[in-house]
């Protein structure tokens, strides 16, 4: 899994690529990267899933942990460009009840304001 960070106004966007699986992680996890941004005062995080093929339970844990850390500080974490298959699983597992998921980056960015 590769993660690149960029910023638009006060929103930090993480572009995720590959599979978010426990066997694929490098030296730093998505949650740790999100926490670093929170520590530096950022409170708006967007996870771009455009390049994500699949995630396992570890990936779900990372997303939820990032969501909890962000919201506990009064911030917002949202997801964008999630594949149809993943979205379906998110729906069936009711993750969509908790997570804000958008189809387009522009819409997601606007939703933070």
């Amino acid at each position: 899994m590769r993660i690149a960070a960029r910023q638009k106004n006060d929103i930090v966007i993480f572009d995720l690529e590959g599979e978010i699986k426990r066997s694929d992680i490098t030296d730093i996890t998505l949650h740790q990267l999100v926490k670093e941004q929170l520590d530096s005062g950022k409170r708006k995080i967007l996870l771009n899933f455009d390049g994500v093929e699949f995630i396992d339970s570890f990936g779900v844990g990372e997303i939820l942990a990032s969501y909890i850390s962000t919201h506990n500080l009064g911030g917002k974490l949202k997801l964008v460009k999630i594949s149809k298959k993943l979205f379906l699983i998110f729906q069936v597992t009711m993750l969509t009840k908790v997570l804000d998921i958008y189809e387009e980056e522009e819409t997601a960015l606007k939703s933070f304001s």
């Binding site: 426990r22 506990n72 009064g74 729906q91």
Partner: protein, 833 residues
């Protein structure tokens, strides 16, 4: 200007309000001395009950009229019209008083009294309504002392003018002078309302947009209902009413004593002038040097009790000492000086958390109508008292032996008790009302996620889908798991039967409507779920199965190059067995496997079997980020039985820091009383490197399990420690100064400040009401100017003094240099034994 609490930009408005107050209190004091002397000299002290009664009735009618007018015209116009009316009518009264019939009239002293009473009530109410609309609680606390000083200065000048001009035989000039000052006030009022428009948006009411209707105007019935339906306003009304009855009785005692003491009218009028001036000087010092400190030290809750307590002491003195001018001056001085200073400020503060619309309805009703009703009650008490004790009436005026006024103290004492009770209730309601004025902006997300989601099942589904690509055996075991948990709904069955990566759907509904389930075991229709579960369990418990599988496991474990998938299958299968099955002994090695996927399946099986022997291996997995969450989840499922091993690793500072942090997270999830105590113990005695994680864990436990007890002593000590750290970090940041060289250090200190600030509030939430503290923190962090002010006020009234003294400087809206001084003081105090 900083000395009197005025901030840049506020000077003009503060000065105008100071002048406004000054220009109504000067004539007020002059007129008070004139009308009292006139009544006492011409009719005697026995006329007072009737004077009070008629003034109350007339003022009541004026209030009704005022409410109707108020609903039709702007407040600015209303104030100006009243000022002009009183100035003109005052001059007319002066003319009548100079005529022979005016001097002989027995009715004119009553008219004078009533006119002056209406003037005082109307002008004062208008002033207070204006101030109340402009400021929020913190601004009010800061500026009221200065603005009130304008009124006090007016009282001093008015009293001195009345005394000096009377002594100089120029008393005839006093009423025209008072009327002139009222006319001058018109210009100040216009300037106040002009300047109000230039205030920052947060500090002034937002005008209705174009096309939007203005706020509905209110009448008497609305005002009455507003007070009746709101318990807080009803309590204020009750306390105000009792306060006025008590003040009236005390005033009667005082006037009786003066009437008895002075025989010369000129001496009496001069005495009143100088007494009122002296009283206001005393009130000024009380206001300038004590009011702020008293409110700061006692808080609103206790300050409201101060006046009844002081009057209680004074009344006892009046009862014990012989009835003369001195004890009467003491009790009247006590009552009036407190009314001018502390009571005035505290009453303004009490109204502030009331919503603007409600306040607009209730305030005139309480200040004008309730006050008048209280005056009527006081007058009736006095009439009854005069008639019962003396039984002589000269025309309509009871002839009263002034010495009997002393006995009134028994009635005063009887009224002070309910006053104190209501004051206590008001103090409590004030905090509740402030509390209601701000909202919690966000809850702990772990709580909402747990409420909304079955995280374990969600993860199980993801893993089932993922296993489809890896191994048919793993996949079948996942399906079996879901079946056992009754989670295999048709939708899930459809979804997970699609091979990962092969899903090509044009829409979600297509996928849901897909008939058949390619790749799904063909066993769902014919085999009953219970039978399947029983069969599998039975098979796994067979000795032959255990022996065969044992051999298979040996070969899988022996060959290090053996397929990772086979180990995963083995780990998963062990989890389906009974805990006493021989195969389960092999799980520890699988937990320790270098592959995170193998460890994951082994950890899940360990969570099912819950054998104590696995715990050390599970704890070892807390170090690796790829298995940490799974290990935490496993230990969470062990619950209390994992506590001894967790505690050992947690306290050992030689252990890997990430492992110890993960133990903190595990304890937070376990969330038992024992877990909380272990965390508190480490917070108290640990090296501090886990403080932030432990504080967050305790905050989580307190949020989720309010019944868990946390020792406040440790929380308080740690809070003070963190406050000192915060102060030092702030001072270090100030010392750094600008420059790129310091950028990294600056960022680190800013981050520390942010973390410490959050930790301090989480700690406070452990030994104070957590919701209040969270609300205050969130509003201070992200609120508007007004909600920040309410949040600080809430803290001010929630925290006990030891905490308040160190927390309020952290959140108070002050300049960096003021903060620096305050923080240095905190650090200095902390070093003192």
């Amino acid at each position: 200007m900083r000395l009197v609490g005025i901030k840049p930009g506020e000077e003009k408005l503060a000065f105008l309000l100071f002048s406004y107050f000054f220009l109504i209190t000067t004539p007020h004091t002059i007129i008070k001395a004139l009308r009292t002397t006139d009544l006492l000299v011409r009719l005697g002290v026995g006329a007072l009950p009737l004077a009070y009664l008629s003034a109350a009735v007339v003022t009541g009618l004026v209030v009704v009229f005022h409410s109707k007018i108020q609903a039709k015209i702007s407040i600015q116009l209303l104030i100006i019209a009243n000022l002009v009316f009183f100035a003109v009518s005052g001059l007319a009264l002066q003319l009548v008083l100079q005529t022979e019939s005016g001097r002989r009239s027995l009715l004119l002293p009553y008219i004078y009294w009533v006119w002056a009473s209406v003037l005082i009530v109307v002008l004062m109410t208008h002033f207070l309504m204006t101030v109340n609309e402009i400021f929020n609680p913190r601004e009010a606390k800061r500026l009221f002392a200065f603005i009130s000083s304008g009124g006090i200065l007016g009282g001093i000048l008015g009293g001195l003018l009345a005394g000096i001009l009377t002594r100089a035989n120029l008393a005839v000039l006093l009423l025209p002078l008072a009327c002139g000052l009222l006319l001058a006030c018109v210009f100040v009022v216009r300037a106040v309302f002009r300047d109000r428009q230039k205030l920052p948006l947060t500090a002034k009411p937002i005008p209705p947009r174009k096309g939007q209707a203005e706020a509905p105007k209110v009448g008497f019935k609305d005002s009455y209902n507003a007070v009746r339906k709101n318990s807080y306003l009803a309590l204020i009304a009750a306390a105000v009413a009792i306060g006025i009855i008590v003040s009236t009785l005390i005033e009667f005692q005082f006037f009786s004593a003066t009437d008895r003491h002075f025989t010369n009218p000129k001496d009496l009028q001069a005495f009143f002038g100088f007494f009122f001036a002296g009283l206001t000087i005393f009130a000024f010092f009380l206001n300038a040097f004590l009011t702020g400190n008293i409110i700061k030290r006692l808080g609103v809750k206790l300050t409201v009790l101060l006046t009844p307590v002081v009057l209680l002491v004074c009344s006892v003195v009046v009862l014990i000492a012989p009835f003369s001018l001195l004890p009467a001056v003491l009790i009247k001085g006590g009552d009036e000086s407190l009314a001018f200073s502390l009571n005035q400020t505290i009453r303004e503060i009490l109204y502030i958390p009331v919503a603007s619309g409600l306040k607009f309805k209730a305030r005139p009703f309480i200040d004008m109508f309730i006050s008048r009703v209280a005056k009527v009650v006081a007058a009736l008490i006095l009439l009854a008292f005069a008639l019962l004790l003396n039984k002589k009436v000269n025309y309509l005026t009871p002839v009263f032996d002034t010495g009997l006024a002393k006995q009134l103290s028994w009635i005063v004492l009887g009224l002070l008790v309910p006053w104190a009770v209501f004051s206590l209730k008001i103090g409590k309601e004030y905090v509740t009302t402030i509390n209601r004025s701000i909202k919690v902006k966000w809850d702990r997300a772990d709580r909402s996620v747990m409420k909304e989601l079955d995280v374990d099942s969600a993860k199980e589904i993801f893993d089932a889908v993922e296993s489809r690509n890896r191994s048919a055996v793993l996949y079948a075991m996942h399906i079996f798991d879901l079946l056992q948990q009754d989670k295999l709904s048709p939708e899930i069955k459809n979804m997970i039967s699609e091979k990962a990566g092969e899903v090509r759907v044009s829409s979600l509904s297509d996928l849901f409507n897909a008939e058949g389930a390619a790749g799904f075991p063909e066993a769902d229709e014919d085999i009953r779920q219970e039978d399947l579960v029983a069969d599998i369990r039975e098979t796994m418990s067979l000795d032959a199965y255990q022996e065969l599988m044992g051999r298979h496991a040996e070969s899988v474990m022996a060959e290090s190059q053996k397929s990772e998938v086979e180990k995963m299958e083995l780990a998963k299968a062990i989890g389906l067995m009974s805990p006493d099955a021989p195969m389960t002994d092999r799980l520890e090695a699988l937990i320790d496997d270098h592959s995170p996927d193998v460890s994951f399946y082994a950890l899940k099986s360990a969570a099912r079997l819950k054998k104590i022997g696995y715990i050390p291996a599970v704890i070892r997995k807390l170090i690796n980020p790829s298995t940490r969450e799974d290990a935490i989840s496993t230990l969470h499922k062990y619950g209390q039985s994992a506590m001894p091993a967790l505690g050992e690793n947690f306290k050992d500072s030689r252990q890997d820091l990430n492992l110890r942090k993960a133990v903190v997270e595990t304890l937070a999830r376990i969330g038992t009383q024992e877990a909380a105590f272990a965390l508190v113990e480490e917070l108290d005695q640990g090296s501090g490197e886990l403080d932030s994680e432990i504080i967050d864990a305790l905050d989580r436990i307190r949020t989720e399990k309010g019944e868990v007890q946390l020792p406040g002593r440790v929380g308080k000590r740690k809070t003070l420690f963190l406050v000192q750290k915060y102060c030092r970090a702030f001072l270090d940041l100030r010392d750094l100064g600008p420059g790129e060289d310091n950028e990294a250090a600056r960022r680190r200190l800013e981050r520390d400040l942010q973390t410490l600030f959050s930790d301090i509030f989480k700690l406070l939430g452990l030994f104070y009401p957590q919701e209040e503290i969270r609300k205050a923190y969130q509003n201070i962090e992200t609120g508007t100017k007004n909600s920040i002010a309410y949040a600080i006020e809430l803290l001010d009234n929630t925290l006990k003094r030891d905490m308040r003294d160190v927390i309020i400087p952290l959140v108070e809206d002050s300049s960096p240099s003021e903060r620096q001084r305050a923080f240095q003081k905190i650090l200095k105090n902390s070093q003192e034994p």
